[in-house]
Assembly symmetry: C2
């Protein structure tokens, strides 16, 4: 945390697009789980400017070097005076030095804009600690592992379980949501209705000789980035083109991607063999349900569908009342073509999704006032397309100005902000980015992503979308089950309805056997068409009318149909609810939390850097350690008694009775992010040490467990405890 | 709970084998996830005796009826006197009546032994309530559902999450276990090592015309049960044979099953078409990892393998010390051929598994004394094979007498007992059944199942097995990674080791090119073989010796090899730890909990039976409801304030401001198992009602939330609260 600035240059917030976006919920286009347009690269003129001018200066200087070289050669060929030749050579050398200096500047500009070296060093430091302390483990490691599959080891598993418990408290309990738990194995019909079977694909190319598969956009992206970063001699014009390609990657069709790959001569990175044309690969893991092999199934790519198919029961459970929210925490699966980015792009992950069902005509939220005054970094569409930065906006202002589409969406944005920052996400590296028009599904009313900045760039960790009625309608159509809500009117309402009355006798006389087709075609007219027909009939008396079931026009006369609007009493309104969906990638949030919580500090001797995770108590995998200061039966007995009290109090802790120095034991637990340590150094009282300040208080043995319980459960702050107990300063405390 | 005896006859504890055992962990044989032998039927002479004698009496009476019938016919044919014929007919009718009476008795005996009618009525009552209140939902119901897949609806999901939270508290936290979280998607190599790819199968038959699949043992079982229960005319001998088949089902090979199916003429139950021979069907869901289609994978059939493959890292994390336990909660998958038994046999389910690694030479447990005095129903091998019942045994006695193999296994049996009974499992319907020799894997030291009695019979819900070193060895061999532990000796120990020294010169001279093979074969001898060879060489001077890499015998002479035992100093012992594995089928435990918690009681008016789930607070999906007594703004405001306080206190609750009568609202929440209800009937104080006693106390508005928090979190008992607050008796309370 504190040393992050040492690793990442402050200019990174608009650094190149390192991150691949995994759209947590698909839009019509991002069902393709594809890369987000690189707006950050596209709209960073302050950074592009020096790079461009340096590239131009370099090209100019290169010409000068060439010209001067030619001059030297022609002087030599013309047997000019030695002094003249020497002067020309001196000038050439000076030009070469100037060129080298520009190259150096360009290199520096590129890598500072990029920040990749520092970012990677930081990431490596975090990952080393995480792996060494088993926060995560490459799955099936003794068999060589499988790309994109990771285990959570003991501290990682505890962090995950704490994050999920807080999620349940913050969302499910606080909002009285209906939590459900549906299977991962899902029959094909459900995912056909949702569109996943057809559209949940990425474009893939194959090495034409070995058959190895690659993501087409990855190869093109790598090529462009490589060229931009390593080839100093490309013209500014070419650099601009490559940047444009990077920005457009997400919008490319298979044909466009294929054309670019051909144009740039991109080959298989491992073998240099030619590549196939790009073609879509469905990202769902496929399986078969039951022994017959006749029921195709998939592992769910998201948990949301399990909620949508249960809408009717859940609506009933909620007393047939809107709004209500259902929630689900569970595993989701995506068979990535070639997973990269460690814990951020994996093949199996935990999602926590909320589907808040609401009347499309009333998206106000009764508790909006509770979040209205929150102010945080927002990145609306307009700021993105005009090349500006995210800025702090008050939530009520954002809703009032229509930046955020409605109160309910705004309410959830606010709640997500509170959730993430209470977990320990740095609010300066958290922003809410609105989807651009071309990122959003046609049916969506508005979408915002909670993006967290990490060493991979800005990572989408929560998607918050107003998906309108799309999902319920899709399942209604496919299943034939009406997934609708009812609003009973306090008293019946008068409404105007279109009435089309074909005069069957006349139609029968005119069309005989085709009577039924004509009647049905007339009755199925929409209002506009019906009144146009009526007007035509009144003016012309007879009109050609297309009957699709006959596949031809028939001639309709004025006496064959009556068209009017009539008043009718309605007792209720039947409608498909809109759904507002906050969808949380739990693994991504946890990874970003690791990066935001990590810092190093010098050991007391000053000879090494010690790792610390500054987890809040709510997240910390272990809340407290218990150490006897030295190996001694009396101290050990007291430590065990305190351990028992902590167990009874439900405080996860670890007792360490090894003879290692107390300083080393503190360092070991700082690295796990343990917020408090109880050290037994007398038989009557003990010290309690706070991780980040390293401050220590002296507490009676009997009180130790309850003080730790109070501070870890947030009933009391450390400042409060610090004020209430005697302080302990020990020379040995941090050895 | 209280009405269970009304549904289930008291004789059911040894009723027929209704339940199919899903072996939570496989033995060498029950990797086939198959039926347990029906010991209960086999060893119930007290029940078989009346049935047998009735069958015999019926057969005898049938002969008498036939004989008498023949006599009547011959009298008529012989034109005997009318009085003589009438007397014979009267005798015939009397015999027929006697036969009918025996049939009735037999029928009654069969159905009381069976209890199936009452059991099914009880099960139906529980299921109706569970389904109506969305404890569970058939998954993907709007698309017709998928057999063996269920969703947990809101209350079911809350119960599950409470059970898992308590499991974490009771096992992981209390024992400082290392919890891990591994993927469901598992590459084939892991499940080849574990034996699942080869052996995790059930035997299946196909309808030869439609291709519909059935479990072979199910068909045979259904046939035998049907015959036994519905065909009153089978001879006692035949009945005995069918019962023997039922008892042996689990032991039948594919050939034996096929032969029985042919012998009994069993056909496809739906079409009456002939059936194929039985063949093995692997129960794992198969998939493919990555885009190439070249990495076969499966959905894990259990979570344990994820722990075994991480043994090395976990051992290191634990400071290279034994014993330690790792734990995992997660989804597991079994592609059942034709799932039956509702929530008890499903295709996707949650397992919670513990792998406790221990030195095979020291299986004592430091905390055994904490469970030593527990006494509960145990069903050791000897009682089963001698046809006796389970009996209450003290745990320390069971370990001391060697009934339970070792202290650590005993400790976990005790902890499982405490876990289940604290959740609300009725201790009278919980027993620990030891595996018989033929159920256990050859490598297992001892296995016990926690079985819970439900309307399906005794259900295996937790398996507790001492699996010795099998799993770690299997993965060591397959992966080449040594999964071992080290015991460093305080000081080096002298040990005797076998030393085989081939004399290469002599061997080279004798066997030339084959020298290496002969040397290796000599060196690889085990102690016994080596000393036999040595003795032979000493007595005969020359011996034939088989070299497997040459595929032939060679002649070894005395001067070619020296064999001796030498003393050596060893600094540590390297060994493969034993693993003791408690494995919990969470869904099964929850289902049994539903049955054990369910009871009905008459409504106040006495005109209907109301459903109640007597969940302990720790399990209850909602801890408290808040009701304004009547619709009234003041009361509603107070109800909302109390609701807010409950939210802050982290108590899950529901507020119900509908105008329904308070009695109906109580009944609705009793049906969800909500233990407490706060009713706002004045603006200063409220009543708190306890679900099972229906007792009410009067509490100040401001205290209401904290009193409920104390009683639900077990800080205070209801008796305590009842003694401390004024009682409220209201005529309207239970209307």
């Amino acid at each position: 945390m504190r040393t992050l600035s040492a690793f990442i240059s402050s200019s990174t917030s608009f650094g190149p697009c390192f991150f691949h976006r995994l759209t947590l919920r698909h839009s019509h286009k991002t069902l393709t789980s594809s890369l987000a347009p690189c707006f950050r690269r596209q709209f960073t003129p302050t950074m592009a400017a020096p790079e461009d001018s340096l590239r131009k200066a370099l090209a100019d200087k290169q010409s000068e070097v060439e010209n001067q070289g030619n001059q030297v050669r022609s002087l030599k060929a013309g047997k000019a005076a030695k002094s003249e030749i020497d002067a020309a050579i001196e000038a050439l050398n000076a030009l070469k030095l100037q060129k080298a200096s520009i190259e150096k500047d360009l290199q520096a500009t590129l890598s500072s804009a990029d920040g990749s070296v520092n970012r990677e060093a930081f990431r490596q430091a975090v990952s080393n600690t995480l792996e060494r302390r088993l926060f995560y483990i490459k799955s099936f490691n003794i068999y060589g592992g499988v790309a994109g599959l990771y285990d959570y080891g003991p501290p990682g598993c505890a962090v995950k379980s704490n994050v999920l418990a807080f999620w349940r408290q913050h969302f499910v309990l606080e909002e009285n949501m209906l939590e459900v738990d549906c299977p991962c194995v899902t029959p094909e019909v459900v995912l056909k209705a949702s569109g996943h079977v057809e559209k949940f694909t990425d474009l893939m190319v194959k090495d034409e000789e070995t058959g190895t598969c690659y993501r087409a956009d990855h190869l093109l992206k790598d090529f462009c980035n490589d060229k931009l970063q390593k080839d100093l001699n490309i013209a500014a014009e070419k650099a601009k083109e490559l940047k444009h390609v990077l920005a457009m990657l997400d919008d490319f069709s298979a044909e466009e991607l294929g054309a670019k790959i051909k144009e740039y001569g991109i080959v298989s990175p491992d073998t240099k063999n030619p590549l196939s044309d790009p073609y879509p690969f469905n990202l769902m893991f496929q399986t078969s349900i039951g022994p017959s092999g006749l029921i195709p199934g998939y592992l769910r790519p998201e948990t949301a569908q399990g909620i949508f198919v249960n809408f009717k029961d859940l609506y009933y459970y909620n007393g047939n009342k809107l709004p209500f929210a259902a929630a689900q925490i569970g595993q989701a699966f995506r068979n990535e073509i070639s997973p990269r980015q460690g814990l951020l792009r994996v093949r199996e992950f935990t999602l926590a999704e909320i589907e808040h069902f609401v009347d499309p005509e009333d998206k106000s939220h009764p508790k909006f006032s509770e979040v209205a005054e929150l102010e945080f970094l927002m990145f609306p569409r307009e700021l993105q397309t005009s090349g500006k930065s995210a800025k702090a906006i008050r939530l009520d202002e954002a809703v009032a100005k229509g930046i955020v589409n409605n109160q309910t969406l705004g309410y959830f944005i606010g709640r997500v902000y509170l959730f993430l920052t209470r977990l320990g996400i740095d609010k300066k590296r958290l922003r809410f980015r609105q989807h651009l028009a071309n990122e959003m599904a046609h049916y969506a009313a508005d979408c915002w992503d909670a993006e967290i900045e990490s060493s991979y760039g800005w990572i989408e960790c929560v998607g918050i979308a107003d998906r309108s009625a799309y999902d319920l309608r899709a399942h209604s159509e496919k299943s034939g089950e009406a997934l609708v809500a009812h609003e009973k009117f306090p008293e019946p309402r008068e409404v105007e309805v279109l009435v089309i009355s074909p005069v069957k006798k006349e139609i029968g006389l005119a069309f005989k056997g085709s009577q039924k087709n004509v009647v049905e075609a007339l009755e199925s007219m929409k209002e506009k068409e019906a009144f146009a027909l009526k007007a035509d009939l009144e003016s012309k008396g007879e009109v050609d009318f297309y009957v699709c079931t006959l596949g031809k026009n028939v001639s309709i006369k004025k006496n064959m149909v009556k068209i009017s609007k009539e008043k009718k009493k309605e007792h209720q309104r039947v409608f498909t609810p809109s759904v507002i969906e906050p969808s949380f990638g739990i693994g991504r949030i946890i990874y970003c939390l690791y990066e935001h919580s990590y810092y190093t500090r010098a050991s007391k001797a000053g000879n090494e850097q010690l790792n610390v995770f500054a987890f809040p108590s709510i997240v910390a995998p272990i809340k407290c350690t218990v150490f006897p200061l030295v190996q001694n039966q009396k101290y050990e007995d007291i430590a065990k008694d305190i351990s028992k009290s902590l167990t009874v109090a439900g405080i996860s802790h670890k007792i360490d009775i090894t003879g290692t120095s107390i300083g080393k034991r503190y360092a070991r637990t700082d690295e796990l992010g343990v917020p408090f340590a109880i050290t037994v150094d007398t038989t009557s009282s003990v010290t309690i040490r706070e991780r980040d300040s390293k401050d220590q208080i002296r507490v009676d043995v009997k009180e130790a467990a309850s003080v730790v319980k109070e501070v870890t459960e947030g009933l009391r702050s450390w400042a409060d405890v610090w004020a209430a107990f005697p302080h302990h300063s020990s020379a040995s405390a941090d050895e």
